[in-house]
Amino acid sequence: MEHDIFGAIDEKTVLDANQVVINMGPQHPSTHGVLRVKLTLDGERVIDTDCIIGYLHRGTEKIVENRPYAAGVPYFDRTDYVAAVSNNLGYVECVEKMLGVEVPPRVQYIRTMMTEFQRIASHLLWLGTHALDIGAMTVFLYAFREREEILKLFEALFGARLTIHAFRIGGLWQDLPVGFLDACRRFSDTIGEHINEYEGLLTNNRIWLERTRDIGVISAQDAIDLGLTGPVLRGSGVNYDVRKARPYSAYADFDFDIPLGVHGDTYDRYLVRIEEMRQSNRIIQQCITRMPTGPIRAKAPRVIKPPVGEYYHSVEGPKGELGYYIVSEGKTSPYRVRIRPPTFINLQALKKLVKGHLVADVVAIIGTLDIVLGEIDR
């Protein structure tokens, strides 16, 4: 019979709270996969955190170095496995940049549209799990209801739902199926109302406000210093979005806003992501009405042998700047592939954000960072 939860303690410190080290994860319901956070607690207050990662390490980058360029694409479906389309886009565009291939406008529009669908799907998953972590279980199921519709669209176009081999180097696997744009339009007409529904449950809810306002505050300067990107950065009011800063694909053609937060707290990041879904929907609607006709493949060489050099291309993934750095030696497979995973870098902020908060806030802050362990561990 051992009751040594606090370790040996000095009798004098009985009235002062003792420090407890507690392992949150890798099998904890709200660490979004296999993140393990070592919390040092004073009562329920967090003094220190330590992230232990690598439980999902699969050596993706190394595997890709030993495959032909085209065969590398599917491996990136599995890094950020809830945003496979965005991952594919980054890699495919990077290789196209290496080859100097210009893809036809129809391909660009379809890619843009599907990536924005993926952004909505990823944000819906984030919203559902984030709300569930804070205890609002209904939002979770509402969000998954709409995500399901997006996954159905993916299935119709790409043949898979989660780990989608969405794009090919130089174009697409197939053109849009019959009636696909109508299905997209139907979804895009209703999603706005559904987003209002989620907001109705959360945005002005007193408990939600209490749980998210002033929780995990990070200033704009700190956010930049830590290299944060995506909604986590924009929640602090920094206007940086790769879609606007270095437009890729067809983003330059579209009209959309970049929502920004003010306080840099969990609530602002929530508002930013909610608004991003609306803006994504705007882009989708523009894509649908202005969808050009034309070929769906560029003239890309059958055997891909990019010229010698180093290349970097980044896209705005749902979670931040998703970059691909590829070194070519002029062979059929890359010499080095390195991903800039947004959530890996965003996770750095956890230590800073959590300090001084309570255990319950740790859960809220992990949720607001929107991490995916597949991408962090690669």
């Binding site: 019979m1 303690i9 009235l15």
Partner: protein, 169 residues
């Protein structure tokens, strides 16, 4: 007859549980035995038709104070307590006090009931089913001063606890 059986059973339970409170090595077990003893007292009060006291006993002691006791015990490592020496230097003083109390008790038992002044309560009180009102009236009329003194004492204790616990205000 039945009355006596009930009384002695309850008395036995209370005494046995009280003994276990001080004999148990594990503080949480001690607390459990103390809860049992307190529940035994509540049952005794019911037998004496002091239902209000019984209810208050459970509400305040079992549901309130014991919860706080357990709260504190849980914060202390029980294992270290189990390894501590059972006899401290205070044992001589303890023996003296225990003998004194025992002598007192034996004297009372030998002298029997004759030393207590027993007054049959007026029938009006007994027939009145609202024993809450009786207690309330007594507390706020006859025993108002002791009641107020107890309240002030508790307030002082509360402030003292806050000062001790919150060193940095």
């Amino acid at each position: 007859m039945i009355d006596q059986i009930i009384f002695y059973t309850l008395a036995f339970i209370i005494v046995a549980m009280s003994l276990m409170v001080i004999l148990a090595r594990n503080a949480v077990r001690s607390a459990l035995y103390l809860i049992s003893a307190l529940l035994g007292f509540a049952a005794l009060y019911i037998r004496l038709q002091a239902e209000l006291l019984a209810g208050v006993q459970i509400l305040v002691y079992v549901g309130g104070i014991m919860v706080l006791f357990l709260f504190v015990i849980m914060l202390v490592s029980v294992r270290t307590m189990e390894h501590q020496a059972r006899q401290t230097r205070q044992w001589k003083a303890a023996v003296v006090i225990a003998l004194g109390v025992a002598a007192e008790l034996i004297y009372l038992i030998v002298r029997g009931g004759s030393i207590f002044v027993t007054k049959q309560p007026p029938d009006a009180l007994l027939t009145k089913s609202q024993n809450t009102q009786v207690v309330g009236e007594a507390l706020y009329s006859t025993y108002l001063l002791p009641f107020e003194i107890a309240s002030v004492l508790l307030l002082v204790a509360m402030i003292g606890a806050v000062v001790l616990a919150k060193k940095k205000i």
